[in-house]
């Protein structure tokens, strides 16, 4: 499996990343992309920005470990992960996952698996800066734990 992981402040470009992935994916019939975006109205008060921090070094290693677990379970030929940090405006992309496989079910499942583990294992933390000037750290959600746990049954 070809794998590339970046944690960066800069935006990502889906089309560029898909081209680069395809150049490395061999004869893959299926590519699944996931883009997670900043929602403007997740809370009652509108969001002015989302701020993300992480644990440099540890984050990249954890994502690579999760991608390797996915490649153990499904025939993944190429995987690209970009996760942004710093200040992000509503609508901006937070995370990009691209997964290439000979088979569509494998591409879908490996991408969903990677996202479920990334959300519960990779050391990122989100702070919501609200339009009223207040801010709050996002709390971990039980639904994310449950999403991850389904792969372990």
């Amino acid at each position: 499996m070809w794998l590339k992981v970046d944690v960066q402040a800069a935006p990502f470009d889906l089309a560029c990343e898909e081209s680069a992935l395809l150049a490395q994916a061999g004869d893959a019939g299926a590519v699944v992309a996931f883009v997670g975006r900043v929602r403007a109205h997740d809370a009652a008060v509108p969001l002015s920005a989302l701020w993300l921090e992480h644990f440099p070094g540890v984050t990249e290693a954890e994502i690579a470990r999760i991608a390797a677990l996915a490649a153990d379970r499904w025939p993944v030929t190429a995987c690209r992960v970009i996760h942004r940090v710093g200040a992000l405006a509503p609508g901006e992309g937070i995370v990009l996952v691209l997964m290439a496989s000979p088979h569509r079910a494998a591409a879908f499942e490996a991408a969903a698996y990677l996202m479920d583990y990334l959300k519960t294992e990779a050391p990122f933390w989100k702070r919501e800066d609200l339009a009223d000037g207040s801010h709050r750290w996002v709390e971990a959600r039980q639904t994310d734990e449950a999403a991850r746990a389904r792969w372990e049954s």
């Binding site: 921090e53 644990f55 959300k119 050391p123 990122f124 989100k126 750290w137 709390e139």
Partner: protein, 82 residues
Amino acid sequence: MITVLYFGYLREALGRNQETLEWMGDDSEALLDLLRARGPDWAEALAPGKVFRVVVDRQVTRGVVKIPDGAEVGILPPVTGG
């Protein structure tokens, strides 16, 4: 001496990003007990359900971790990326 790094809401709750500590303890449970003993703010911020993982020298392991002298120790609240 060990270096302790704080992340996410812990930075705000504890008023620091990192600190250097005298260390003669054994493992991550001993470190958390030491820190919780600093007062009610610390005890609450580092209550058992609020610490996701303790990462020593950037090696991720599960559960209780040995902390040697000279280590860099990250204390991670539950993660919220993606």
